[in-house]
C-alpha cells in the first residue's frame, strides 16, 4: 500500500455514453484501506456507472482512477491484472450457469494461477536454453507452486469459503438449483476467493425476495467488520447507516454531498439529498 493506505483515488472521473449523454461529470473520491463507502442516489443518477468505472467495466471518458497507485483508467494499463484485486458483486448475481458452485469459486484463482505458472515455466525454459551458451548463467525465476498445488489450494480455499457461509453441501450443484440469497452469497465468496483489496457491490440485495435480504446483508456486514474495504451501492438505508464510514450522494453526475451517516441522514444540507431522503426513509 502507499500514501496513507489509499486504495482507490478517483480524480475528475467523467463518463459519457455518446453525445449529450453525460452520466458522470467529474467525480472525485478517495477510498482508504478498510473504509466502507456507501453510494446513494436516485434511480438513473449514475451510481452503477460510477461503481462500474472503478474496475473499468465501463471505460471512463475522462479523469483518472488510481488503484494501488496505478492509473487504471489509462487504456494502456493491463486491466485484467488489477481486476484480480477488485472484487465485484452484481445485482443479478451472475454466477456461471455452466459451472458448479465449486467451479464458480475456483475458476478464476485456478486459471490465473496456472496461467502465471505457465508463463514462468516458458520463461525458465528460454533462460535454460540461453544459459547453455553463457558463461555467467542467469538465474531461473522461482516457481513456488506446481499446477497441482495451485488447484488443491484453490479447492481448499473454496471449501473454506463455502463452510463459512454454510453452503458446503452445495459445492457440486449448479446455480439454477439455488435460491437467490444462496446465489448472491456464493457470488460474494467467489469474489473473495481472489483475495481482493476492495469489494464493489452494486445493489446486492435488490433482486432478492425480501426474506433473503437479511442473509446477504449479514454476510456483507461480517466482511465489513473484518476490515474489508468496500464500496456499496444500495437502497438499504439501515445497512448504510450501520456499516458506512462515509456516504456519498450522487446526483446530476456529481457528488452532491458527502459525509458520515449521521451527517447525511440527520443533517442533510443539499436540497436534492433532502428530497431523496424524504422519499426513501
Amino acid at each position: 500500500m502507499n500514501e496513507n493506505n489509499i486504495i482507490l483515488k478517483v480524480e475528475g472521473l467523467k463518463k459519457s455514453f455518446g453525445d449529450g449523454n453525460d452520466v458522470l461529470k467529474g467525480i472525485n473520491l478517495t477510498v482508504k484501506q478498510g473504509e466502507k463507502v456507501v453510494i446513494l442516489g436516485a434511480s438513473g443518477s449514475g451510481k452503477s456507472t460510477l461503481l462500474r468505472c472503478l474496475n473499468c467495466m465501463e471505460d471512463p471518458t475522462g479523469g483518472s482512477i488510481y488503484f494501488n497507485g496505478e492509473d487504471i483508467a489509462d487504456m494502456k494499463t493491463d486491466i485484467n491484472k488489477h481486476r484480480e484485486h477488485i472484487g465485484m458483486v452484481f445485482q443479478q448475481f451472475n454466477l456461471f450457469n455452466n459451472k458448479t458452485v465449486l467451479e464458480n469459486i475456483m475458476m478464476a484463482p485456478v486459471h490465473i494461477g496456472v496461467t502465471k505458472y505457465r508463463k514462468r515455466a516458458v520463461k525458465n525454459f528460454f533462460i535454460k536454453l540461453t544459459n547453455v551458451f553463457k558463461k555467467n548463467k542467469s538465474e531461473l525465476i522461482p516457481i513456488e507452486k506446481t499446477v497441482k498445488e495451485i488447484k488443491a489450494e484453490a479447492e481448499e480455499r473454496a471449501y473454506a469459503l463455502l463452510r463459512r457461509i454454510g453452503l458446503e453441501e452445495k459445492a457440486e450443484v449448479y446455480p439454477s438449483t439455488l435460491s437467490g440469497g444462496q446465489k448472491q452469497r456464493i457470488a460474494i465468496v467467489r469474489a473473495l476467493a481472489m483475495n481482493p483489496d476492495v469489494m464493489l457491490f452494486d445493489e446486492p440485495t435488490s433482486a432478492l425476495d425480501p426474506e433473503m435480504v437479511g442473509e446477504v446483508l449479514d454476510l456483507i456486514k461480517t466482511l465489513a467488520d473484518e476490515g474489508m474495504t468496500m464500496v456499496v451501492v444500495t437502497h438499504e438505508m439501515g445497512f448504510a447507516r450501520e456499516v458506512a464510514d462515509r456516504i456519498i450522494f450522487v446526483d446530476e453526475g456529481v457528488i452532491k454531498e458527502e459525509g458520515t451517516p449521521a451527517e447525511i441522514f440527520d443533517n442533510p444540507k443539499d436540497a436534492r439529498l433532502k428530497d431523496f431522503l424524504s422519499k426513501v426513509l
Binding site: 474496475n55 472484487g87 456461471f96 439454477s176 438449483t177
Partner: protein, 244 residues
Amino acid sequence: MNWGVKWEKFISTMEGEYFRELLLTGFLNTIKVAVLGLIIGIVIGTVIAVIKVAPKYSRINRVLDKICTVYVAIFRGTPMVVQLLLAYYVLLPMLGIKEVESIVVGIVVFGMNSGSYVSEIMRGGLNSVDKGQMEAGRALGLSYGTTMIKVVIPQAVKNILPTLGNEFITLIKETSVLSFITVYDLYTALSTIGSKNYEKMVPYLVMAAIYIVLVLLITLLVKLLENIFAKSDRARTNPKAKRA
C-alpha cells in the same frame, strides 16, 4: 410392376463383393464428409461468430469483421455444387495442385460452406447468453477470450444444439452433390448399383431409407447431447430435483 423381381435383381447385384464394397465406401464417404465438414464448420463458424460479437474498438477487429462478412456472403450466396466445382475444377488447376484426393476437396468445401451457416447460428447462440456472464468473468480478472471459451461459448452451444443438429442433417443430405467432383458417396454408389441391371427403383428406395435412418440417428444423438448438457439446469427439467 413386379417388386419381387426388382428386389431379386438388387439382391443378386449386392451378392457381388465389388458392389458391397462400393456401397460401404459410398456410405463411409458420405459420413466422413458430413462429420468432418461439420467439425470444420463449427470451428470456422465459432471463430467468425466471436469476431462478429466482439467489441469493435481496434482496427484489427474491424478489418476481421469485414473479412468475415465477405466470407459469409460468398459461401451463403452460392450453391454448394458451384463451390465444389470451382474448388475442384478451377481453383486447384489454377494453383497447380494435382496430388489431392477429391474427397479432401469435398471435406474442405463442406467445412467452409458449413462455417458460414454455423457462424450465424453461433452468433445467435452467443447473443442468447446473458451479458452478466461475460461481465462476471471480466470482473474476476479473466480475459475476454478466456471468459468466452470457458463460460459463454459452452452456454451458447447448449442453446443452439438443436439448430446445429439441423445443420448436420443438411450436410448429410447435401453430400449427394459430391458426385460432381468424382467423390464416391452414397448417391454415386447406389446409382452405379442401379446401372448394373438397369434396375434403379430398389437402389434409390434403399438410398432414401439409408438417408432417413442417418437423419433419425442424428436426431437421437442431438436429444442425447441435450440431456447431457441439461445437467446444469436440472431444476427446470426435473421438478423433483428442485429442492436438491
